[in-house]
């Protein structure tokens, strides 16, 4: 029986490469522009490129979990303020309570993760809208950060021998430890995303929750875990920022715009308009490169904000074009 169900694929492959890897071409383009514009050695040097990757790693770790929340067709806007909370909380535990830094950091991460559990319960059990829930939780986390830090930043005397300090600020040879850690983490999470049932279910729920439900998937459980992971990484990222010198209750609002830009510009890479771990990491590296290059060119800081905003719209536009195309195919055929 040959009914011609197998379509021809020739043209599709070229189109697929262009749409799926557009982001890499953009990065290459921006890299070339900065390399030409700036004196040799200031931008395209090994140490600067490593620095870009290091910054990219730090800021991608904060939002790895948020990426999955969005893949699941929910949203988490609380990550920035959860990071601020755990940052200030760990600083207070070290400086005012006098706990050893490693212990303080672990406690701060676990406490910060609690916000994710609360988000998850409110979304799955109370069936509340995740946008509103996480905005509310965000406000609460931020307020607690202000109370703990008495309204200002807390500077921390760093103990450079400690494990977490070495992990975040140390280096192996010339390669920053956090970059190594970030890459390992990203690889592990890509494997979970692509090779496990858990990863499979995240995207099944995001695409068609009813189909996932009919297939017997425990949606509540998956959502709870993903919201937990989201806050866990946000809290972890917060303590990393504390280790760079001082804990500030305000970091949340700074993270907001650029984080969503990284995630959505990343959605243009690799998984056909779906937010994903690899995309978020590459998006974070792109943003780090832009910030680095613009600073070296001497562009005013608002330029960076404008470009970030444009990139976010670009990322969302491509994502929704891809989704709309699919939607249209559905309405026509069903």
């Amino acid at each position: 029986m040959n009914n011609g169900l197998q379509g021809n694929k020739g043209n599709d492959i070229i189109k697929k490469i262009l749409t799926n890897y557009m982001l890499l071409f953009i990065i290459a383009g921006i890299f070339i522009v900065f390399t030409i514009r700036l004196p040799s050695g200031s931008f395209a040097s090994v140490s600067n490129i490593l620095k870009i990757f290091q910054v990219g790693s730090v800021y991608s770790i904060v939002i790895l979990g948020v990426t999955w929340v969005i893949s699941m067709n929910e949203i988490d806007t609380s990550f920035g303020d959860v990071a601020a909370f755990s940052s200030v909380f760990s600083a207070v535990l070290i400086m005012q309570v006098g706990l050893p830094p490693n212990l303080a950091i672990v406690i701060a991460i676990l406490t910060g993760s609690l916000f994710g559990i609360i988000n998850g319960i409110l979304v799955t059990k109370a069936k509340l809208n995740s946008l509103i829930v996480t905005i509310a939780i965000s406000g609460i986390a931020k307020a607690i950060a202000y109370i703990l830090g008495k309204g200002s930043s807390v500077s921390v005397k760093q103990d450079r021998t400690q494990f977490f300090y070495q992990l975040c600020q140390g280096a192996t040879g010339i390669i920053p430890n956090i970059l190594i850690f970030g890459v390992i983490l990203v690889v592990v999470m890509i494997l979970i995303q692509e090779k496990t049932k858990f990863g499979q279910y995240i995207y099944a729920i995001g695409d068609n929750q009813e189909a996932a439900n009919v297939a017997g998937i425990n949606i509540t459980k998956i959502k709870l875990i993903v919201f937990f992971i989201s806050s866990f990484f946000a809290a972890f990222g917060g303590t990393m920022m504390m280790l760079r010198g001082a804990a500030m209750p305000t970091i949340g609002s700074n993270l907001f715009l650029e984080s969503f830009t990284k995630i959505f510009i990343g959605a243009t890479l690799y998984k056909l308009g779906k937010t994903n771990i690899l995309g978020t990491f590459v998006g974070a590296v792109l943003m780090a490169m832009l910030v680095n290059g613009l600073a070296k060119v001497g562009a005013p800081s608002y330029m960076q904000q404008i470009i970030t905003g444009i990139l976010l719209i670009f990322g969302v536009a491509i994502t929704s074009v891809l989704q709309r195309r699919r939607q249209r195919a559905l309405t026509l055929e069903e």
Binding site: Q200, R326, E333, E334
Partner: protein
Amino acid sequence: MQALDNVELMVKEGEVHALLGMNGAGKSTLVKILSGVYTKDSGRIFIDGKEVFINHAQDAMDCGVATVYQHPQLVYTFTGYENISLGEESRSFVINRDIMRKTAQELAKEYRINIDVTKMVGDMRPVERELICILNALSKKSKILILDEPTSILTEKEIEILFDVIRELKTKGVSIIFVTHRLDEVNQICDKITVFRDGKNIQSLEVGKGLDSSYIAELMLGRKLEKFYPPKSTDQPSEVVLATHGLSLERRFVDISLSARKNEILGVFGLVGSGIDELSKVLFGAVKPSEGTIILNGEGKKFRSPNDAIKNGIFLVPGDRQTEGYVGDQSVENNITMAKMNKVTYKIFGLINAGAKKKDALKMVEDLSIATPTVKKVVAELSGGNQQKVVVAKGLYTDANVYVFCEPTVGVDVGAKYSIYEIMRQLSKTSAVILISSDIEEIYGMADRVMVINQGKMKVETKTNEITMNTILVHAVSNA
């Protein structure tokens, strides 16, 4: 009213058993009970002579009963094989796509289903999606497959593909319950039929060499037309107000040419899925036709949006009033004046003239005798019939030249039904009225001229008094 009343159904191993009946005859309810979506009030279900208890979807799955719905629940961004094994992956945390793919391919091969399971479901054609659903059922070792109107969205070539698969499943001993209202398919693929009417199984027949369409149509219809409709028009129809020429919408309908006049209600009859719903949307500018023209008062028109259609004097009373007809949590007066706010808005700053709005709404409420204590009442709190009257009032308020009614009396009680029919009749004196419906009695009772659409094709157009209800139905269900 009971949706199902003492229904009996016997399906043998390897048999394709068709459930036939008009809308609301009880076929879908029975399917939902067998697949665990609804729970029966009484009665028993036996599989292989053993009584089974189906209370949830999972129970049906465990009993080996799987249902393929018209709109399959699939994850469109996943490949075919990922959907086939969704929720049934290996026990371990890690999944192996190679094994998943191979299992799916072997399964497809075993049942001689020729399909590329590595393709993303979103890129698949409707028939391929149904095949993926069938494979998903087979992967769960289902012995009884319920296909709920599987052919309504397929092209003829695709239907052939599906039928080949069904024949293969038969030889493997899978029993198939085939829900349809298309007689030609029954003769083509089914071994036995059971006709449903008003929640009862009327008769079961062996298909044998083929069944007589008009006899089955009679079984499906049963009773004679009740005296229930306002008298038909006696005036001479006016010149054509709205006409279409070769109107087509890809995959849904093709080459529809109709003409609507004053003093004559045009009835367009078709079964669910025949394309009539889409036709109403094209006439209203909500969906763009792929070919053909709409001619209004002798002038060719292209409607870019419903707003455009309303400005040109066309109004649609949509089939699904809850999602398209009214804004449920807004007041009666807001809903009535919504489509033509200009009438109660000052030129300056677009301020609303609250007094005029209330007055106009009150007049509509009186004219159509909408049962509501005040015009401030929220529409969602009214009865189905009165909600529909609000939707009609909204249309009347636009002073349209053409009214398209799509399934206007679904979920409307008898009393309100009659007054909606009276309104339609009254309207037809001053405007062109098109009634698009899958309720054959409504069409026969209301339309002065009737047109039948079957699988997106125009079958017949004639004066209603020159055709019998039976013939209309035969045109709608027989081979297109």
